[in-house]
């Protein structure tokens, strides 16, 4: 059932609820930190990647705003029943400079699973809004179940 619903919504995912023309790909990115035991030492690193649909295997720890975004933008995350459906929740995500890479401003200092858990099988919209209220970019993704 979930699969069918997603298949039905996917064609619309490239659209934007607010009509913004610019996608946030490459501007708002997912961040995951990793760890590795190598030569009996623990080394750490992180990966930056384009946000995809949210699932247990497709999530991110944090969101990062790259230097392609203008200063002063605000990051919003909006959950909707569908791309054109009712808005379930809108969250203004505070941004801060990341100590691991000063070129990035990040949101979420905790794994955001609890936020997504509130809105299973929904659409989440990432939106950068400038100080004058103009939508700088917007991208929509699905919250999906990935297990049989």
């Amino acid at each position: 059932m979930t699969r069918l619903l997603l298949a039905a919504t996917l064609p619309f995912l490239l659209s934007s609820p607010s009509g913004a023309t610019q996608s946030c790909a490459g501007i708002v990115q997912g961040v995951n930190e990793w760890e590795l035991v190598q030569n009996n030492r623990m080394i750490e690193g992180f990966s930056l990647f384009d946000v995809e649909d949210w699932s247990a295997s497709g999530g991110f720890q944090m969101l990062a705003i790259t230097d392609k975004a203008p200063a002063g933008v605000k990051l919003q995350m909006e959950f909707r029943q569908g791309l054109r459906g009712r808005v379930l929740e809108t969250i203004d995500l505070p941004l801060r400079t990341w100590e691991r890479d000063s070129k990035l401003r990040i949101a979420f200092d905790r794994y955001p699973e609890d936020v997504f858990a509130r809105h299973p099988r929904s659409i989440f919209v990432l939106r950068l809004v400038s100080a004058d209220g103009r939508v700088f970019c917007e991208s929509s993704h699905a919250v999906v179940d990935d297990e049989p």
Binding site: N32, W34, V37, F46, E52, A56, R110, D145, E147
Partner: protein, 436 residues
């Protein structure tokens, strides 16, 4: 008590350090029980009695690993002395920060206002633990610049102040056995079996201590797995068993994202404090035979195909099973610790990032080879006669909804191929040093 599943004993001891107890670190220290009912045992794990929450115990020694303390007990039905796991006693109100930067917040929740970051080693005094499980109100005797003298932190990022165990004598040794009067013996250590919190979590530091104690010739991990497989009721002191005899698969690192044999774990559970579901290693509960066969496959993959774990061939795994529930989020096949989610592999270097079989950078060749390795060690779909689930069927897999970004592979302990893989396993310390 909330779950501190898998958190290192050191962390847990500190995390539970809540009330204004006398300074700890010396013989004769009084601690109180924080579990609803804590088993007191002989050194060799025979249960002597159980004591209720808030019972006071006097510490008179510790074991070499620092996972258990020898205590003097004054409680009806208990002998004068016994051993308890340090996870379930409250040693001190003083602790120090064990994270590169621990968020100090305005309230006892990750959603409360962030105030500042406390650097590693910052001293804290816990003044209240009653507002939200796992969250502590703390006072900072010497607040770092920009930080106030009070706030809230999550206890998973605290550890005992220096010298907690150092001045306790090592008194590892047998206490005379008493008649075992335990009723309804379970597999968990505390009386609260709905959410057992293991004293050992497979942390790499723990594993090294265990290996050293075992002489180093054969890792305790495999030895303990074999004991569990041979005897479903065997109680491992290092790998406590949970629901259906499962254990936690070894993880290490600040975030618990390094697995054995160069593998990666992609669920950063420790970043979700305050929810028992997301305690450390909370989704790594695995059947012992499955753990054995999966380890054999990981070791073989690293030996034959991926010696450099900084490359995209590094195996990254996620959900296995939860201990506290037979299902979660409708994951019907992740109920018994038989099945593991693994990300497809990519060309180029390793990235901890979602990837599908349609993504740029996806490597079908590497993914297919990895799946073939799993199959050689008994990896299947949910049923023994079906292929693992993954939607690039050119990899020898079965298509299944939602499986674009992960392979669902099961190592069913009843499958002779899985049993054979386990029987043939020896740990190569050069490939899986974490397990030695």
């Amino acid at each position: 008590m909330r779950s501190f599943s898998g958190v290192t004993p050191w962390t847990v001891v500190a995390a539970l350090g809540l009330c204004a107890a006398p300074a700890i670190g010396s013989e004769g220290q009084v601690v109180r029980v924080t579990a609803s009912a804590l088993n007191v045992r002989t050194f060799d794990e025979n249960r002597l009695c159980a004591v209720p929450r808030n019972t006071q115990l006097t510490v008179i020694g510790r074991n070499a690993e620092g996972t258990r303390v020898k205590v003097r007990v004054n409680h009806p039905g208990c002998p004068g002395e016994g051993w308890v796991y340090v996870n379930y006693v409250l040693p001190s109100a003083r602790a120090e920060v064990d994270a590169s930067s621990l968020s100090l917040r305005a309230g006892p929740s990750a959603s409360r206002r962030w105030i500042c970051g406390l650097p590693r080693g910052t001293d804290v005094e816990v003044t209240d633990d009653t507002r939200n499980p796992g969250w502590f109100q703390v006072r900072l005797p010497n607040p770092p610049p920009g930080c106030p003298s009070e706030g809230y932190v999550h206890g998973s990022y605290l550890k005992p102040e220096s010298g907690f165990f150092s001045s306790l004598p090592v008194t590892e040794g047998a206490i005379p056995r008493m008649e075992n009067t335990e009723a309804g013996a379970g597999l968990c250590e505390t009386g609260d079996c709905s959410n057992p919190s293991p004293p050992g979590n497979g942390n790499i530091e723990d594993l090294r201590q265990i290996a050293a104690a075992a002489g180093g010739a054969q890792g305790q991990f495999l030895t303990e797995l074999r004991r569990m497989i041979a005897n479903p009721n065997y109680r491992s002191p290092h790998y406590p068993r949970g629901r259906d005899g499962m254990i936690q698969y070894p993880i290490s690192g600040r975030l618990g994202k390094a697995g054995p044999c160069g593998s990666a774990r992609y669920n950063p559970d420790e970043l979700m404090p305050g929810r028992s579901r997301w305690g450390r290693g909370s989704d790594t509960w695995i059947n012992p035979t499955t753990a054995c066969a999966f380890t054999a496959a990981l070791q073989e993959w690293k030996r034959t195909a991926c010696p450099d774990s900084t490359q995209g061939c590094r195996v990254a795994w996620g959900d296995i099973s939860l201990n506290r529930a037979a299902q979660w989020d409708g994951h019907r096949t992740h109920t018994m610790g038989y099945c593991i989610d693994v990300r497809p592999l990519r060309s180029g270097g390793f990235q901890d990032a979602p990837i599908t079989h349609r993504s740029r950078g996806y490597s079908r060749d590497r993914t297919r080879q990895m799946i073939e390795t799993f199959k050689r060690f008994g990896g299947t779909g949910y049923r023994n006669n079906e292929n693992p689930y993954f939607n690039d069927t050119a990899c020898g897999t079965r298509s299944m909804g939602g499986h674009d970004n992960h392979i669902h592979v099961c190592f069913n302990p009843n499958n002779p191929a899985v049993q054979g893989a386990c029987n043939n396993l020896t740990i190569d310390p050069n490939i899986c040093p974490e397990l030695q």
